[in-house]
Structure formats: C-alpha cells, structure tokens
Symmetry: C2
Subunit: 178 residues, 2 copies
C-alpha cells in the first residue's frame, strides 16, 4: 500500500463526509431545524464539536500529504461556523491533496517526519502514516459521523465506506469503484 494510495483514500473519505453533511441538511429540513445547530454538537462536554472534528480530519489528511509528499502545508485557519463553511474547508483540503503528484510520495516510507508537537523527535514516514495519520484521520471522521448519528441523521455503514474497488470475476479486472 503506497503513501499516495493512503492520501487518495483520505480524499475519498472526505468526499463521503460531504455526503453526510448533505444528509444532515435533509434531516434538518425534514425536522424543521437549522442544520448549523449541528456544527456545535458534541458527544461529551470536553470533546471536540462537529466543526472541530471536520477541521481535524482535514488537517490530518493535509499534514499527511504535506509531510509524506515533501510539501509545505497550506494554512487553513479554524474559523468555520456553518456547514457551508465546513464544506469549503473540505474543498480546500481536497484541492491540496490533489495538488501533490503521486511521484512526490516516492521514498515517503523512510522520510523523517518531525511535526512540531513531537518536540524535536521524529517518526519514519511509514510509522507516521500508520501510527498517527491513519488512526487520527479515521478518529475524526468517525466521530463526526457519530455526532450526526447521535442527532438522528439517517446514516448507515455504506454512507461511511462509500465506494470500493470491487472487481467482477467475469468482467475481469475493473478499476471503477462501486
């Protein structure tokens, strides 16, 4: 599994997250409440609200692409107050993820990743991806999903997973995600 593949999967999940926001908007409309109420919804008083879960998911993907692709991450200040602004944040993140070409992830496994919060220590690129970026990225998208579920939004496992690159044994190797 390449580092480029992992960043591509983060992008797919962020697109799924946008669809959960669509479903939240449908739910709010059906129940006659303002969908932006959910922006500050949280599961525990000392846990991040929905907005911060989305911001953090975007940042985990952005920093993975930056550190592993050898790029400087663009600044995305955490100023979003509405679902519309959170969608823009996701779009800005996706644009950056797509801007890092596959070849720049070459050698990412052994790249030294030294985020500021490690206080001068570093992780091998492979360890950063598997022990930091992947667990944290899925933590934040799953918690965003859980906040919406907890508030009655009708989501199911296929909304979470989205599409897969399943192949048909008759048609042979197919690359379309289904």
């Amino acid at each position: 599994m390449t580092h480029h593949d992992a960043v591509h999967e983060f992008a797919q999940m962020l697109r799924n997250l946008e669809r959960w926001i669509d479903k939240a908007a449908e739910h709010a409309k059906a129940k006659s409440f303002d969908v932006d109420v959910l922006v500050s919804a949280r599961l525990a008083p000392n846990q991040y609200a929905f907005a911060q879960q989305v911001q953090s998911a975007c940042d985990q993907a952005k920093f993975a692409a930056a550190y592993l692709g050898g790029r400087k991450a663009p600044a995305h200040p955490d100023t979003e107050k509405t679902m519309a602004e959170l969608r823009q944040r996701i779009q800005a993140c996706l644009a950056f993820l797509e801007s890092v070409p596959q070849k720049e992830f070459s050698g990412a496994e052994e790249r030294k990743v030294s985020p500021p919060w490690l206080g001068g220590k570093w992780l091998r690129g492979d360890d950063y991806l598997l022990q930091v970026a992947i667990p944290n990225f899925f933590f934040h998208v799953t918690t965003a999903y859980a906040i919406l579920r907890h508030n009655g939004v009708e989501l199911g496992k296929m909304d979470y997973i989205g599409s897969m690159s399943a192949r048909d044994p008759v048609a042979g190797r197919e690359d379309a995600r289904v």
Copy 2:
C-alpha cells in the same frame, strides 16, 4: 507500509481498547455503578452497542490477518455480555493476529480477497486493506471510544493513540514505542 505492519497496528489499537475498558472500570467504581451497564450503551438507538463495536473491531482485524495472511479465520461467536468477556474476545483476537507470521503476508497486495458479503466479487489485497479493513477497524474502535466518552469515562487523545515509534535525533534510531 506493509500488510504485516497494518495488522500489527490493529493489535496495538486493540491493546489500547483494553486500557479504555480499564478506565471504564475505574470510572464505574468511582461513580458506584456496574461497569457492565456500559456493555449495552450506544450513541443512537439503531447503532451498535459497545459490545458489538468491540466484536466488530476484533473481527475487522481478524479477517484482515486471515485474508491478507492467507489463513482461515478462527470462529469467535458474538456471545459476550460482560466487560470481562469482551476482554477475553480481545485476547482471543490478539492471539490469532500474533499467530500469523510476517512472511505469510508476502504478496498480500495482489492477493484476491473475496469476503462472502461481496457476493462473488473480489478486491485486491491492497484495496481490501485500505478501503475496507482500515476504515472499518478504526470506525469500530473509535465508536467504542466515543460511547465510553459519552458516558463520562475520562479518556483523552493519548489513550486513543497509545504509543508511537518516535525517535530521538540525539540517541539516533530508536525502535521503542514511546
């Protein structure tokens, strides 16, 4: 990132999950309630309870090790009703994960993975790991964590992440997880 590394990370996260259960037990004791009340706690009426989140996390790890390591997965029936039984389930899963030697994951990227729920279709091993096993595994551990947080158990991000293979630039390459 190798498939063996990914299965090893699943095992690390399952050990973290055991420590969250320790903290749930401490919380229950401090608040004078039976910790097994949390076994059936859930975030939404039509979402899995804690027990099923733990069972599903174990199964995602188990089937990843089995499919990608070319092994038959052992049967682990979903009969757990107590935290003590859920700990045993995690231990049984860990014992299986550790039983698959690293060399058996050789070639896992291209292995055809055809779980029964795909109805005869298949996924490349790499796609199965990245599009199915990783998102689902972290979905279930994160939701288990969220259920405990929602019920007042004092957990933080470092409980979620556990240890990391951070290296010190002075001491050179260190393999211990910190």
